[in-house]
Symmetry: C3
C-alpha cells in the first residue's frame, strides 16, 4: 500500500470523495511535474463542516480542524492527480486564507491544522512546505478557512 495512503489510514482518516464544485474550474491542473490544486474549504460530502469567523464563531481548535479538512480535500485531489501513487509527490507551497476580524493575529496557528496533517502523511522531507497565512474578509459558502497548494509530482 502507498505509504502516504497508509499514514492517512493510520491517522484514522479517509480520503473524502469529490465535492460538487462551486464554479467553472477544475480541481487540479498539471504542467510538467507541477501540480496546482484549487482552493479547498472544509466540505465533507458537500456539507460545510464549519462556518463563520475564526475567533468569533470558531475556537482555535475548531479552526485548526477546519484547516485539516481543507488539507484532506487537497490530498483527495492529489490522489486523483497521481493515480494513487504518492511515492514521488512533494508539497511545495501552501496558501491559507482565514476569515477573521482585524484584531486576530493567529492565522499561522490556524493554518498549522493543514500543515501538520500534510507533514504527518508525507513525512518531514517531502511534506515540509513554504506557505503564506492571510486573514481575509470572507470565503466561498461562508467557510472559515480556504487552503490551496502547489505540489511536485516527481
Amino acid at each position: 500500500m502507498d505509504e502516504v495512503l497508509r499514514r492517512i489510514d493510520e491517522l484514522g482518516l479517509a480520503l473524502p470523495g469529490p465535492n460538487i464544485k462551486g464554479g467553472n474550474y477544475t480541481p487540479f491542473t498539471i504542467h510538467g511535474d507541477l501540480l496546482f490544486v484549487a482552493g479547498q474549504v472544509c466540505l465533507r460530502d458537500n456539507i460545510l463542516q464549519y462556518k463563520g469567523t475564526v475567533g468569533v464563531d470558531l475556537s482555535m481548535k475548531e479552526a485548526q480542524d477546519a484547516a485539516s479538512i481543507c488539507a484532506l480535500n487537497l490530498l483527495a485531489i492529489v490522489n486523483q492527480a497521481c493515480n494513487g501513487d504518492f511515492s514521488k509527490v512533494r508539497v511545495l507551497k501552501v496558501n491559507g486564507f482565514i476569515k477573521c476580524l482585524p484584531a486576530f493575529e493567529q492565522q499561522a496557528k490556524v493554518l498549522d491544522g493543514a500543515s501538520d496533517l500534510l507533514v504527518s502523511v508525507f513525512g518531514e522531507e517531502r511534506g515540509k512546505h513554504a506557505r503564506a497565512a492571510i486573514g481575509v474578509t470572507a470565503l466561498p459558502r461562508g467557510a472559515p478557512v480556504e487552503v490551496e497548494a502547489v505540489f511536485a509530482l516527481r
Copy 2:
C-alpha cells in the same frame, strides 16, 4: 487567424491595449514554459469600469462583468507573452480576489465571470484551470475584483 483570437473576436470582444501600471512591476514574467501574469483589475483604457464593494455597490452581474474585464486584461498580456500564438497556451491557475463584506458568500460565482471567459476562448481542454476565490477588504484603485493567473506557454 489564431483560434483563441478568433474566439475573442466571435464573442464581440477585443484585446485591450496595455494599461498604465500602478507600480514598479512588469505585466508578466516567463520561466521555462511557465508564464506568470500580474494581478489585473477592471481597467479599460486606464479607466476603472467598476468601483466599490461587490454585493453593496455592484450587483452579481456587474461583479461578473468586472471579473471578465480582468480576464480580458490577462489575455491581452498573454497575447504579448506568446507573440500572438496561443496555440500551445494553457490556463493553469487563477486566483480571484473579490472586495466584499464579511457576510458575502458568492466569491466563486463572481470569479466565474473570469473563468467562463477563459474557458470560452481556450476551450475546455486548455481553458479549464485550478483556482481560488477569496473575499478581501480592498484592492488597488478601489477595484471590486482582481484576478491573477499562471499559464503554460507550451
Copy 3:
C-alpha cells in the same frame, strides 16, 4: 563578491538572520529551477518592526518601509537557497498582502516598498517581476504587510 550581495551592501542594508518561524512550515522549497519562498512579515531579530493597519496606524512611508523589510527577509532566504550565489537568480512573482481598511486604495504603492528593493538589488532585467497587491483584514502577529515570492534559481 556576489553582485546582488554587493548592491545590498551599497544600499546600507544587511541580510537579516533567520527569524523564528510561526508554524509548521519551511522558509523555502525548491523544485527544479523554481524557488518558492514563504510569506514574510516585517520581522527583524524576531521583533515586528511595525504593527497595525496601513493608513491608520502606519503612514505610507512606514508601510513602504515595512514592505521593504519583508523583501529583505525574502532575500535572506533566497541567499540560503542559492548558497550565496545570486548570479542566475531572477524574481518571477511577488504577492503583497496589505492590512488596511475598505476605503484604502494604495496597496500598489505600499508594495513598491518591496518591489523597489528587489529591482534595486537584482537590476531591471532580473529584478522586474509580475505581482499582485491585495488589501486584507489581518496578518500573522498583527503585521501590516506580508510579502511572498517565487524566484527562478537559474
